[in-house]
């Protein structure tokens, strides 16, 4: 807590008599000593460091150490059970790059991100626009919309798995109304499985980001919409010229979060495919690959799994930098 005190006149700081003809001599003024009261008086120099120590330790333990450990392990032949191994240089990276299963997983993860990120940036914004107006009962609607975001992703995925199976609700409904004769195998085709997983991700994620957009929309000046209306702008033009610029920062944040989440996608694909990654493992994502390689006690390689994790890290960084560049260019 800062303390403000009245200026204190020091010794010899009297006023210079007028009419002497000599310019007043400039004297060095001494800064008044800071007076600290209460707890601040006894605060040692290391106290601020103490305040940040806990988060620093947490970050070091749970982010920095795993990060560095994974990086170093990626150059070893460490086994999953012992965690120990010898230095093998870049061998794990060579093995990784020559593994078609790895490239298949990379393709799936990147496609996942490329489809989910734009939709997850746009759709929650549109939903937020729908529910932002204060009409009677809107609080209830907002709460209902938010339910998928608070439900367990495991439960959501299992529920969708039951809905989408051959004898599930969707196929039964489509057959009942005569649109199809045979069930659509949503969960056994490579791309249909991934599309279903994307739908689950969007279904569970849209309400969460909708809330974030609602907060951002609250800061958009309403008079801008009125001005745009006066200029003859319709809903689409208002959206593009007022809403989007107003929530641009939030859109960037959402894009970053969703990009990271999409590249790490695991739960949806894992549960919809019963842990198999689809027929032939063709829908397997990068995190599923890392888990399979890094944690198999008999045939796994912690070194190779760590190399996969480093590759995921580099991909994430690469996509983030690319998106930042695009964002910067568009702003310029």
């Amino acid at each position: 807590m800062s303390t403000t005190t009245a200026p204190v006149r020091g010794p010899g700081q009297g006023t210079v008599p007028s009419g002497t003809g000599t310019p007043p001599r400039r004297r060095r003024t001494r800064r008044p000593p800071e007076v600290r009261n209460g707890a601040a008086r006894y605060r040692a120099w290391w106290v601020p460091w103490l305040w940040v120590a806990a988060p620093v330790v947490v970050v070091a333990m749970f982010y920095l150490f795993p990060f560095l450990n994974t990086f170093f392990l990626s150059f070893t032949d460490a086994s999953p059970l012992s965690g120990q191994g010898e230095n093998v240089g870049l061998q794990n990276y060579r093995d990784l790059l020559s593994d078609p299963v790895f490239w298949n997983a990379v393709l799936n993860s990147v496609v996942y991100a490329l489809i989910v990120v734009p939709l997850m940036v746009l759709l929650p914004l549109l939903v937020a626009l729908l529910v932002r107006d204060k009409v009677p009962g809107i609080g209830l609607f907002r709460s209902l919309y938010y339910v998928p975001a608070i439900a367990s992703l495991v439960v959501i995925s299992l529920a969708w798995s039951a809905i989408l199976r051959d004898q599930g609700m969707v196929n039964v409904a489509l057959m009942d109304i005569g649109l199809i004769d045979q069930p659509i195998s949503f969960l056994t085709g490579r791309w249909t499985l991934l599309l279903c997983a994307m739908a689950v991700t969007l279904w569970a994620g849209i309400p969460y980001y909708m809330i974030m957009y609602l907060a951002a929309l609250a800061n958009v000046d309403r008079s801008l919409y009125d001005a745009a209306a006066v200029d003859g702008a319709g809903p689409v033009r208002k959206f593009l010229t007022v809403t989007v610029p107003g929530v641009r920062t939030m859109m960037t944040l959402v894009a970053i979060l969703v990009t990271i989440g999409s590249l790490k996608i695991f739960t949806e694909v894992h549960l919809l495919s019963n842990g198999t990654g689809g027929i032939g493992g063709e829908s397997q994502t990068l995190t599923m690959y890392i888990r399979a390689v890094g944690l198999d006690p008999t045939y796994g390689s912690l070194g190779l799994g760590s190399a996969g994790a480093v590759a995921l890290f580099l991909m994430t960084i690469g996509l983030l930098i690319a998106s930042q560049r695009l964002n910067a260019d568009s702003e310029n």
Binding site: P66, S82, G85, S273, T276, I290, Y299, N327
Partner: protein, 470 residues
């Protein structure tokens, strides 16, 4: 300039977030290190903690004066068998004053294996571990289990010789795991579905040829019933074994099934049955356990694990009542597989004498018989011990009626006496099993030709096998 500064800040934030991604996606592990031999020739595992010298030297453990505490971890037993184990532990502690055993349990095969990997790396494994067949080979090869042949010679005498002799997975062919309990794989089938397809409901298939023939007939009936469940994880190795497929070579250095005509026949039949509609399409990626699908009443063949009949009974009594049971399908001269659970003692255990004494107590004939009897009395499991004395007990084969669980127990008891550990099954785990199933599934749904699938699977599996051996 402001923009640049802002961008830079965002980039840093993004980088930190991505670093979190790496941390979250990272695997567990510690610093690198190497092996060092123990005094008794027992290799020291490469882990980041001190291994007690008495667990590695060539002396026998003294089990005459037990004291202290140990932990005991099982797989998927809590919630069903609490009373049995609580009493067992209490009796042991009362027989050995000053000892204490803490029981923990972890459900699910994949979760159990993952937990085992994490615990092994940081030396936090329980002192006594219920090791499934998917992990026993890996733990033994990494020298993470106590060498029974050095620390307690003669420990294997009570066990069925065919089983005990074949599970020497440790260094120098030593034993590191005690066979605990198992359930022979059987045939369970829906008699109503058999009748609807014009099959004799009282005659289950005895060989794989009969099985495929019946499956084709059920598909041909085209009445909405299915013959088989598509997820082959639980029964593939058992059916290949029953057909006499040579999955691996003699020294188990290579997978060889792709050149086996029986493997090709199996693969071709499965693809054909899928095309005929004998297999529910999405069951190829269905649950491991087919009990749930079987309870719907339209699937002819149910779970091969008799213990899961209780799931059928609790879900659909009428399907349970219509269930018939037969012995496992296999050609003449082929024995059923001992596919079960093992008991290992962690080589890092600070109280190895007590841990070994508890492992021995848990697997001795009396406890094995009591464990099987408990399963019968409570109708919770059809499990059998692996000791000769217990398996010879007539009470195990007693069947009081036509109830499917009773029949399963009676048939299993006969099968148990002639079961043997089927070594290739221990190698069909993790990524190797995944590689096999991925190729098999692609062939079943018709994406690739059967022979191409077998070749592709074998190539991937041999690559993984060689990597683990190097």
């Amino acid at each position: 300039m402001i923009q640049k500064s802002s961008l830079s800040r965002r980039a840093v934030l993004g980088s930190l977030a991505a670093a979190g991604t790496l941390g979250a996606a990272s695997c567990t592990g510690a610093s690198t290190g190497g092996d060092a031999g123990g005094d008794g020739g027992i290799p020291e595992p490469s882990v980041g903690c001190e291994i007690p010298e008495m667990n590695l030297d060539d002396s026998e453990l003294d089990l005459s004066d037990l004291s202290g505490e140990i932990t005991f971890m099982t797989q998927g037993l809590k919630g069903t068998f609490d009373e049995f184990f609580t009493d067992l532990i209490a009796d042991f502690e009362s027989d050995h004053p000053g000892t204490s055993i803490t029981w923990t349990d972890q459900g699910g095969t994949a979760d159990f294996d993952t937990l085992m990997v994490t615990q092994a790396g940081n030396c936090s494994m329980a002192d006594v571990i219920n090791v499934p067949s998917s992990t026993v080979l890996a733990l033994s090869q990494e020298n993470l289990l106590l060498d029974y042949d050095v620390k307690s010679p003669g420990l294997g005498e009570p066990f069925v010789p065919a089983v005990w002799d074949s599970i020497a997975f440790g260094d120098q062919g030593h034993h590191t795991a005690l066979p605990w309990y198992f359930g022979p794989l059987l045939v369970t089938y829906n008699k109503d579905v058999f009748e609807r397809a014009g099959l004799d409901p009282e005659t289950p298939p005895a060989t794989m040829d009969e099985y495929f023939e019946m499956a084709h007939q059920i598909a041909a009936a085209d009445n909405g019933d299915y013959a088989l469940y598509g997820n082959t994880s639980w029964y593939l190795s058992d059916q290949w074994h029953g057909m006499g497929v040579q999955i691996m070579n003699e020294d188990r250095s290579e997978f060889t099934f792709a050149a086996d005509e029986n493997a090709l026949r199996w693969m071709t039949e499965m693809a054909s049955l899928y095309a005929e509609g004998a297999i529910p399409k999405d069951s190829v990626l269905g649950d491991l356990d087919q009990s749930q699908a079987y309870t719907e009443g339209t699937l002819a063949f149910g779970t091969p694990n008799a213990s899961f009949l209780r799931t059928v009974r609790s879900a659909n009594q009428s399907v349970y009542d219509a269930t018939g049971v037969g012995r496992g399908m296999r050609e003449e001269g082929i024995n059923p597989i001992f596919s079960g659970q093992y008991i290992g003692v962690s080589v890092a255990s600070p109280n190895a004498p007590l841990a070994l004494a508890w492992a021995q107590h848990l697997t001795d004939p009396a406890q094995g018989l009591a464990w099987a009897q408990y399963g019968m009395d409570t109708e919770t499991a059809v499990v059998f011990p692996a000791t000769t004395e217990a398996l010879d007990d007539p009470s195990l084969a007693e069947a009081s009626g036509k109830d499917p669980m009773e029949q399963a127990r009676s048939i299993s008891a006969e099968e148990a006496k002639v079961s043997e550990a089927y070594l290739p099954a221990f190698y069909l785990t993790g990524q190797v099993q995944e590689a096999l199933l991925n190729s098999v599934n692609k062939a079943i749904v018709g994406d690739v030709e059967p022979q191409e699938a077998l070749d592709s699977a074998q190539e991937s599996m041999n690559r993984l096998l060689q990597r683990s051996a190097s």
